[in-house]
Symmetry: C2
Subunit: 225 residues, 2 copies
Amino acid sequence: MTKLFKPYYPIAATVDVVIFTIEEDELKVLLIKRANDPHKNRWALPGGFLSQNEPTKNAALRILKDKTGVKDVYLEQLYTFDTLGRDPRGHIITISYFALVNPDATRLQKIEDLQTPTFFNIKKLPRLAFDHKTIIEYAKKRLAYKLEYTNAAFSLLPKKFTLTQLQNVYEIILDKKIDKRNFRKKYLSLDFIKPTHEKLKGIKQRPAELYSFINKKPIEIQRFF
Amino acid sequence: MTKLFKPYYPIAATVDVVIFTIEEDELKVLLIKRANDPHKNRWALPGGFLSQNEPTKNAALRILKDKTGVKDVYLEQLYTFDTLGRDPRGHIITISYFALVNPDATRLQKIEDLQTPTFFNIKKLPRLAFDHKTIIEYAKKRLAYKLEYTNAAFSLLPKKFTLTQLQNVYEIILDKKIDKRNFRKKYLSLDFIKPTHEKLKGIKQRPAELYSFINKKPIEIQRFF
DNA sequence: CCAAAAGTGTTGACTGTACACCCATGT
DNA sequence: ACATGGGTGTACAGTCAACACTTTTGG
């Protein structure tokens, strides 16, 4: 603290990061195994304490890189969790972030201190430390919104992808079947993607056209009145 | 702090509250005049430091009541602002909340220490303390979303209201004209409101039917696929 | 030629939008 | 009787949802 505050009570703040990916047709979340108490050896979101004069997003990026090897992700602030008792060490709030990554471009490091970063199927999560289950559930809702109202799917896909892969992303996250023709018509009409005129090769069926996102910046679509 | 953390750096956290209302056909924000430095005598969002073991939402309610007299509002967490330098006293993050109130039911107290809580037209804000302008802009976006996707308008209206009043809320917040017939058709089809079979009286035109919200809990509407 | 996934259009239902006049009341 | 805002319907356009067959490739 650069100066002291009269009657004001300092608290501790952590950041926690929810990293989603899609792998083997499953929505997965990145977890690490805690090296220390509390909850030693339990699976948890990558997270840690803020450093001095460190913005929370920087802290999230730093911790993510140090504990999992994941870097260069676009983080979005999710929510600040502050329930009393969420951390047995005392009054600790956590500012959570979330991001989407493409597993092909995301090599997990095996860190020496046994943090073993691992993507878990969101439907088969182990017992989690702290209130991290709550945080993941909240993040999942936000993810579904993002997919419905933005071009966020680009973060989950390789640079070039087929419409079937894209549709799979939607089906997995929204957890429902979508009609192929309607999906293509609608998604193409949004003008988020364009054909590359390349084809997927080396497979035994008809090769699919590869598409790419026109814009790798977040774009929203509008509604109501 | 109930226990000490080894190398971990305590920070200070404040909460700030954005209270919106609609009055005289204008969207207004509740501000107070700061009693102390920094930014003494400048207008600011009601806010203050977290107390020991106090959840942020409780802190927001406490501060709101103490500094403005406003109570019994439904607060929703907005965002955590943490830009370095946002507070000249040091590394202080703020967890912001927002709420909608009906001015008829919200009596502002004139507090002895000259905090003078006042609703300002959002289009005519004075110079604000800290990064409170940024916070208000963020809150305004969130407000427009809420209105489009939920029944949140109930918080801005008296128990009984006319469809014209409801439409005004939308026109003011979305900042555009809406066709009267289309608005009525659409809003009624959402089944958020029901006629009370009472009429507005004592005015010189044809008296309007009064409606009330069926449900004063947040409800969302769905889209896409 | 077979298996597998890619690709493609039409129809009917529903929703959004544009638009103008009569009605009920107080003065 | 008039001024004021309240209240109402229709038609056209656009979007959504349901639905099945042909094409291309590798083996």
